[in-house]
């Protein structure tokens, strides 16, 4: 019987959070190893488990998977969340890449100088409202379906709801001009696997705090 996927990362969101979301959405149980000391990271490197010396690392199906997008694509395909053909797949890829561009801005904010924080967050909100959210609102409006692609739950829906919740942590009323996205958020949150992941006690991680930033810097010797 196949072992559960094992995730190696810091005890926080970072680049691993989207992977946790996708596994959870697919109803796949996973184990986690949290990196807290630089010696743990050095050992992973020395053991040759990190292809390019980086985490996230996911051990599954006899492979050491690294590179966030490679991992996410693999999971999406394996668990049937990647559309039914190439045309649906490319739409999912476009939507998730756009969403992840936005999320990257949020993810990097705690690592930037504190005096830039206000400005960074304002820019993120601005881009979300002007460039990204309107695109997804329009997609839902144009086809009138419950999910972004192919009338079926996919990776694109998981990525979008993760992004929406992250943005609401920055700006609670960010969806105020986007009624269909509001409905989307409610709808996707009610999917049993997602609902479970949103409960306290799940493997979903908290927003980054100073302790998280310090741990990352220590482990990676930044």
């Amino acid at each position: 019987m196949a072992a559960k996927p094992k995730l190696y990362y810091f005890r926080g969101r970072g680049r691993m959070e989207s992977i946790r979301w996708l596994l959870a959405a697919a109803g796949v149980e996973f184990d986690e190893v949290f990196l807290e000391k630089k010696e743990q990271f050095e050992k992973l490197e020395k053991d040759g488990r990190l292809l390019f010396g980086q985490v996230p690392l996911v051990e599954m199906d006899g492979m050491m998977l690294t590179q966030t997008r490679a991992i996410l694509s693999y999971l999406a395909a394996k668990y049937n969340l990647y559309g039914k053909d190439l045309k649906e797949r490319v739409r999912i890829d476009m939507y998730v890449d756009g969403t992840m561009d936005l999320m990257m801005m949020i993810m990097l904010t705690p690592f930037k100088p504190p005096e830039e924080k206000e400005e960074n967050l304002a820019l993120i909100v601005k881009k979300a409202k002007a460039r990204y959210l309107p695109v997804f609102e329009k997609i839902l409006k144009d086809h009138g379906e419950d999910f972004l692609v192919g009338n079926k739950f996919s990776w694109a829906d998981v990525q979008l709801i993760e992004a929406i919740l992250m943005m609401e942590e920055i700006n609670a009323s960010i969806l105020s001009d986007f009624p269909l996205l509001k409905a989307f958020k409610t709808r996707i949150s009610s999917i049993p696997t997602i609902k479970k992941f949103l409960q306290p006690g799940s493997q979903r991680k908290q927003p980054p705090d100073q302790h998280y930033v310090d741990t990352v810097k220590h482990v990676l010797q930044l």
């Binding site: 810091f10 970072g14 680049r15 292809l51 390019f52 010396g53 980086q54 985490v55 199906d61 492979m63 998977l65 690294t66 590179q67 966030t68 997008r69 490679a70 694509s73 693999y74 395909a77 394996k78 190439l86 045309k87 797949r89 490319v90 890829d93 476009m94 890449d97 756009g98 561009d101 990097l108 690592f111 460039r131 990204y132 695109v135 990352v216 990676l220 930044l222």
Partner: protein
């Protein structure tokens, strides 16, 4: 009959170059629509074909594809350059993601502040020879095959050749400690479609020069010191 794919970008490498390589390697003819000024770029944005107001954009099979990775994956899958199963695909994805990190550094290098050029170049070459190239050299040594994945040509091989050539433009002897990569380079360069793309007169673009750097800065409104911020971004990319 479907028209040829049409690429929308400026007349230079940037993020579109890997798309050109992949199409060329697959033997697919394509057209290009270049914008040369900020105004022309804004006109393209107004036209509503850029999903997130960004390029690259490729018109193909009745779609306006954006996001470089999405475009490359589509082309790789369509032209059978993406492995034969999910595991091969995962290996190709890991290899090309690594290559993207290196090629982004090289891509942004011309935007360095003058006083930081030397330092940035040294950093790029150090990364190339200690983090990236050893991975590919080892992959080839371990399986002893001609191609990176699945014993047949894939997107990973094409992008590796592209990045090797870019790195050699930074330092011609950059492959001196990597004999298998040297052989790989010769071998892949001889594939007829790729050989053709390497000839003068193909749609392959030259590196940025003084003139084209100015054009790029104008079109995309890059700030001063953007490269250093990006270097910092790349380093702190966790």
């Amino acid at each position: 009959m479907a028209g040829k794919p049409r690429l929308h970008y400026f007349n230079g490498r940037g993020r579109m170059e890997t798309v050109r390589w992949l199409l060329a390697a697959a033997g697919v003819e394509f057209e290009e629509q270049f914008f040369e000024t900020r105004d022309e770029f804004e006109k393209l944005i107004q036209g509503g074909t850029l999903m997130f107001e960004q390029v690259p954009m490729v018109e193909i099979d009745g779609m306006n594809l954006v996001e470089t990775r999405a475009i490359l994956r589509y082309i790789a899958a369509k032209y059978d350059l993406y492995g034969r199963n999910l595991k091969e695909q995962a290996w190709i994805d890991m290899y090309v993601e690594g290559l993207k990190d290196l090629s982004d550094m090289i891509m942004y290098f011309p935007l360095s502040l003058p006083e930081e050029k030397d330092m940035n170049l040294e950093y790029i070459l150090e990364r190339a020879t200690s983090r990236f190239f050893p991975v590919y050299e080892k992959a080839l040594r371990n399986h002893g095959q001609d191609f990176l994945v699945g014993n047949r040509l894939s997107w990973a091989d094409i992008q590796l050749l592209e990045v090797i050539l870019m790195a050699e433009e930074c330092k011609p002897s950059v492959l001196s400690d990597f004999p298998l990569l040297q052989e790989f380079k010769a071998r892949i360069s001889h594939i007829p479609t790729i050989n053709k793309f390497l000839q003068p007169g193909s749609q392959r673009k030259p590196p940025l020069d003084e003139e084209s750097i100015k054009t790029v800065k104008n079109i995309f409104k890059f700030e001063r010191g953007m490269f250093l911020k990006n270097m910092a971004t790349i380093v702190a990319e966790y």
